[in-house]
């Protein structure tokens, strides 16, 4: 079964890199949707079904933590695993993300293997539910 993934990052460069990296993982990935901030992501989720969200933390308008909180407070979207991809390595923001219900995080810079390793562990159990 294909996994549709939503990539949320204000950097078009990172969205493009993640598109490429996700295709390189060898996982069965269907659509890869993109959003430039949390607000745009929530709008997109009203019309698209996704298996996983990959999101930056520091973004304008609505940041990754606000978006994560909105998803976890929603009865419709709370089951969607959210993985944070961020330069934030400190305990403050990453810890907050985990507390809010993030399924995990990957530090920038990242390799395709690191992304794959993280997603396999999250997507495969989710697909069996």
């Amino acid at each position: 079964m294909e996994s549709h993934i939503l990539v949320v990052d204000d950097s078009a460069a990172i969205r493009k890199i993640l598109q490429r990296v996700l295709r390189q993982t060898g996982m069965v990935i269907g659509e890869i949707y993109e959003a430039g901030d949390g607000q745009e992501a929530l709008e997109l989720l009203k019309t698209k079904t996704v298996s996983l969200v990959l999101s930056d933390i520091n973004m304008p308008k609505m940041d990754g933590l606000q978006m994560l909180a909105a998803l976890k407070n929603s009865t419709v979207w709370r089951h969607i695993p959210v993985v944070m991809i961020t330069t934030e390595g400190g305990e403050t923001k990453v810890g907050e993300a985990v507390k809010l219900g993030a399924a995990g995080y990957v530090r920038k810079p990242f390799t395709a293997d690191q992304i794959k390793e993280k997603l396999v562990g999250i997507l495969e159990p989710a697909m069996q539910l």
Binding site: A12, N58, T87, G89, G90, T92
Partner: protein
């Protein structure tokens, strides 16, 4: 290790790791200098990001237009021949990653720091000025006949910061 040496070490580690992982380029460690905010005459693309907390300051990357295009080409696996939106975006992300990782290292010693969203400027004959008189730590990374400058300035911002200075021998030397 004093604060200046710690920052130089962190910038070196961060820049080398980001270039290796995201651009597939193995750089040699940068050469460090300590200077005022005088502009680099080679600079055509300038990217700036703010740091805030009990210590505050800025991080910047500057380089020629040609090098910015190479950064974009390597990072996005595309052919960038002129500075455009994509090139500026790649430089912004490079700044975010290099300074962001330095910020994470610094947090272990200086406490929580915030990171702003980067701003990138493209042009010629412009000057930049940072308020205050703090020295910049500048590292030059050579890449196939061209170079990238990574700079960072940081100074105590509140009274709590002065307690943390004790962690570093000579750390106050950074704040002039």
């Amino acid at each position: 290790m004093n604060l200046k040496e710690f920052i130089v070490d962190s910038v070196n580690q961060s820049a080398l790791q980001v270039f290796s992982t995201m651009l597939g380029v193995e750089l040699a460690p940068g050469t460090a200098t300590f200077e005022d905010a005088k502009p680099d005459i080679n600079c055509e693309v300038f990217s700036l990001i703010g740091l805030a907390g009990s210590w505050a300051g800025s991080g910047s990357l500057s380089c020629s237009a040609a090098l910015a295009c190479r950064v974009c080409s390597n990072m996005l696996m595309t052919e960038a021949t002129a500075v455009n939106e994509e090139v500026l975006d790649a430089m912004a992300e490079l700044t975010n990653m290099i300074v962001g990782n330095v910020k994470t290292e610094l947090e272990s010693k200086l406490g929580p720091l915030g990171l702003s969203i980067p701003t990138v400027v493209y042009g010629r004959n412009f000057k930049t000025k940072t308020a205050g008189t703090t020295d910049w730590i500048s590292l030059r990374f050579d890449w196939d006949g061209d170079y990238l400058l990574v700079k960072l300035c940081l100074a105590p911002h509140d009274k709590d910061a002065h307690h943390r200075i004790d962690l570093f021998e000579g750390a106050d030397a950074l704040a002039v």
